[in-house]
């Protein structure tokens, strides 16, 4: 792999950028690997990267039925933050945040991580109490955060309607300055390129159609390109995790729902931070290209179509215009959906399964992009050592039988 640099950019400009090397190979599947990762989204690719980098396990295949990052990774609204309420979740998301902070250098790939801050608005007294509680918990866990009043919010976002006339007046917000956004495709590509360079095979257009299981232990997968064997299989398939679990003969505590987002036509810079509101149910940021990136809540029914209902779009835009009257005449350019795997306690599952050698990393629902590096890091350790990484341990599937849930509905909400 040739390293990217400013010098390289100048050099390639001389040849009209026609001679860049391909970012990764397109290998033929081998018969056997040490580890198979099912799902080439950000989490799967990050897992492969850290397996190779931290654990020296490079005989790894990432099996992706479509193209790399074509699932939720390239469909999300790219918000990154770590201000979750409970110790277990804060530890995990903050672990990820620390990796984000050095990720572009680590991968030699510009993931455009921009710590422009994240505001979670409060519109009711109860919102404000919850925000205070969460920010206090964050600080005890070493996660940055502040409670702002309406004036503090207005200072940061002059175009937000903080007047008393709003239908749901803004009373304040939590503010995480280290939060922000990153470029989602670049995250997938950066991990892919770096993993490939260490020998990981990225197998695109390859769909896992079943598992090879003998005496309760997995030893490979069936795919549309033939069988591939491995004693360790990590499934990182987001909305399709339940489908894979069914192939392996067990159920997960998940439901797959459509989650939508939209972008507007590009505008001049008008919003330099991320604003989210659980109460009026919408959130928005502005990309470097200038378009407003707007997110919604899930559609409540189980749905595997990568699209949702118009009503959800309508409600979301009502919320955005309620908060930002200035956006009322902005035109929307594109709208799309992803299939998110929501967990009853709004926390992920990183866990061994009833099948030996098979692990699942799923349940990230509406908010797993921010966890991409951290999730890959602790899942790789779990696969390498065949034992849960300490940060992953509280997120085992068992918690839905023992009752030790990590209830993050408050911190997750519409806030992704």
């Amino acid at each position: 792999m040739k390293r990217y640099s400013g010098f390289g950019l100048v050099k390639h400009a001389m040849s009209h950028h026609e001679n860049w090397e391909r970012q990764w190979r397109n290998p033929t599947p081998k018969k056997q690997y040490d580890v198979i990762i099912v799902g080439g989204g950000g989490h799967g690719l990050a897992t492969a990267y850290y397996l190779a980098k931290e654990h020296g396990i490079t005989n790894v295949a990432v099996i992706e039925k479509g193209w790399l990052g074509g699932g939720n990774t390239a469909r999300n609204t790219t918000i990154v933050r770590s201000n979750y309420l409970w110790d277990e979740a804060a530890a995990m998301f903050e672990h990820s945040m620390k990796l984000w902070e050095g990720l572009s250098q680590d991968l030699n790939y510009n993931v455009m991580f921009s710590q422009r801050g994240v505001l979670n608005l409060g519109h009711t007294l109860q919102d404000m109490r919850d925000i205070q509680r969460r920010v206090n918990a964050n600080r005890l866990n070493g996660v940055d955060g502040e409670v702002l009043d309406a004036k503090g919010v207005q200072d940061i976002v002059p175009i937000l309607d903080c007047s008393k006339n709003a239908r749901y007046p803004v009373m304040g917000a939590s503010w995480q300055p280290r939060g922000g956004v990153a470029r989602h495709d670049a995250v997938a590509w950066g991990f892919a390129r770096a993993a490939d360079a260490m020998g990981v095979d990225l197998l695109q257009n390859t769909e896992v159609t079943g598992f090879k299981i003998r005496d309760g232990r997995v030893y490979g997968v069936h795919t549309n390109r033939g069988d591939i064997e491995a004693k360790t299989v990590g499934c990182v398939a987001a909305g399709n995790s339940g489908v894979l679990a069914k192939m392996a003969g067990f159920k997960l505590p998940l439901e797959s729902h459509p989650l939508q987002a939209l972008v507007s036509e590009p505008l001049k810079p008008v919003l330099d931070t991320v604003v989210m509101s659980n109460h009026v149910h919408g959130y928005v940021s502005q990309s470097d290209k200038g378009d407003l990136v707007i997110g919604a809540g899930i559609d409540g029914y189980v749905g595997y179509g990568q699209r949702g209902s118009y009503t959800t779009v309508e409600h979301t835009l009502q919320a955005i215009v309620e908060m930002f009257p200035i956006f009322s005449r902005v035109r929307m350019n594109r709208q799309w959906g992803g299939v998110v795997d929501t967990c009853p306690d709004a926390s992920p599952i990183i866990s061994a399964t009833p099948v030996k050698g098979m692990f699942f990393n799923c349940g990230w629902g509406t908010g797993g992009f921010k966890a991409t590096p951290g999730s890959g890091h602790i899942f790789a350790a779990t696969l390498a050592k065949n034992e849960a990484h300490p940060i992953a341990a509280p997120f085992s599937i068992d918690r839905f039988n023992t009752g030790a849930l990590v209830d993050e509905h408050g911190a997750a909400g519409v806030a992704h």
Partner: protein, 130 residues
């Protein structure tokens, strides 16, 4: 956007009037106090999450306020039928292949708009004996 047939109101109404309420026909353990952690956790949290034919509960939230059931394809979003609480579905994953298209049901390929229909065969709707 769904156009949903409420089996109680006997009318098609727009999706906005309804609220999806998760998998249908879940069975609460008969003796909760003595159920195992697996049984209780299974009942509370574990779902079929079927990609394909899915039986689910809906609430006619701003209509009659009654719960009813729907059989729907979670991948194509086609609605096969809606039926009253206590009734059994007439369309299942097993028989959906040879399903005689009921009047009012649009084909899977006909786009996003899908409509519900009632099962024609009353005999399939008998209460399940628990």
């Amino acid at each position: 956007m769904f156009h949903i047939y409420c089996p109680y109101c006997d009318e098609y109404r727009e999706e906005e009037e309804f609220h999806p309420s998760g998998q249908a026909h879940l069975r609460r353990p008969a003796d909760p106090a003595n159920s195992t952690d697996d049984e209780w956790g299974g009942y509370l949290f574990f779902r079929d999450n079927e990609r394909g034919v899915h039986h689910e509960m809906w609430l006619h939230a701003v209509g009659c306020r009654k719960f009813f059931n729907m059989t729907r394809n979670s991948a194509t979003y086609e609605i096969y039928e809606t039926y009253k609480m206590g009734e059994r579905p007439s369309v299942t994953a097993e028989n959906v292949g040879d399903l005689k298209r009921q009047s009012g049901v649009q084909a899977e390929t006909s786009g996003w708009q899908t409509v519900g229909a009632r099962p024609e065969s009353e005999s399939l709707n008998e209460e399940e004996q628990a």
